[in-house]
Amino acid sequence: MAKLTFKTDNCKGCGLCVDACPKHVLQLAADKINKKGHHPVEAVKEDECIACAFCATMCPDCIIKIER
């Protein structure tokens, strides 16, 4: 199973990772705000992650680390 780690404070909430994920694992946290004032990304279905790294490839701020 894949493990996703986010550097949440660097997230700008652009949502490019959310669109890139083929398994719809990610979403922007509507109820959270990070230090920059954005809604950061969070994994809602981490157990369905296939570690394809599409999200990390699209992330402009390099906040995603993926381990398997």
Partner: protein
């Protein structure tokens, strides 16, 4: 096992770019290539003026800030003084295709052994979204509110096509970073551009079609779609010059 993490050549400094700006993706691709080739200790980057003016904060290798448009001239000096170093410039369209056209054309004509990463987002980003030499015909910007009128402002500069007419440059390719497939291709092109320099082949330029959600007035997602629908038809992707490959074919 780590599948993906931040490359070592990229610092921990949070980037100042707008949400969804693809500058960050290209920074990461350059850093990944530096890591993979193991050249971080001898790489010198030249930062431009424009949105990526603070690129020196984000790379772990040595960085120099050049005057507006003069990055290829500074890179020429560094490379000639320290031929063992790997020198790359990272420039936007306002820097490379506008004020720095002379430096770009002449360093390409001289076939300087440097690597140029050229970000083309069809607008002046840092100054607030004015029309750039690369803005598309009919594109609405701050200084062309009714769309770029080609009768008044002329046509966009296609840098890869223009430089491919010269005998000098070794390698010219245009790539985009609007989806995962194009990003993988962009990385291959950037890696080849660095490898050419290590092999002493000469001037390599990779033009990256990039997005500017803020100044295009689009969401990050729609900006990537706009690249597909508007920019790529006008700026076709592909290899515009590869002298080594052409030599291989004629053998």
């Amino acid at each position: 096992m780590v599948v993906f993490e931040k490359p070592h050549a990229l610092t921990d400094v949070p980037m100042h770019y707008c949400p969804g700006c693809t500058h960050g993706i290209v920074h990461r691709l350059v850093a990944e290539v530096i890591d993979e080739l193991g050249i971080e200790g001898k790489t010198v980057g030249i930062a431009p003026v424009g949105c990526s003016v603070m690129a020196y904060n984000y790379f772990n290798c040595d960085m120099i800030e050049a005057a507006h448009g003069r990055a290829p001239a500074v890179a020429t000096g560094v490379k000639r003084a320290e031929p063992d170093n790997i020198v790359f410039t990272y420039q936007g369209d306002g820097d490379l295709a506008s004020i720095g056209t002379a430096e770009t054309v002449h360093s390409a004509a001289r076939n300087e052994n440097i690597t140029v990463i050229f970000i083309n987002n069809a607008i002046y980003g840092m100054t607030g979204g004015q029309m750039a030499p690369t803005s598309l015909p009919g594109q609405v910007t701050q200084t062309s509110p009714y769309g770029r009128d080609v009768k008044l402002c002329g046509y966009p500069v296609k840098v890869c096509e223009m430089l491919s007419q010269l005998d000098g440059p070794e390698y010219l390719e245009r790539v985009a970073v609007n989806n995962v497939k194009n990003i993988k291709n962009a990385k291959k092109a950037i890696k080849k551009a660095f490898q050419n320099q290590i092999d002493g082949k000469g001037f390599s330029l990779v033009e990256v079609i990039s997005s500017c959600p803020t100044n295009w007035g689009l969401t990050p997602q729609n900006a990537l779609k706009w690249i597909d629908e508007k920019m790529i038809p006008y700026y076709p992707l592909g290899v515009y010059k590869d002298r080594s490959a052409a030599k291989e074919e004629t053998k």
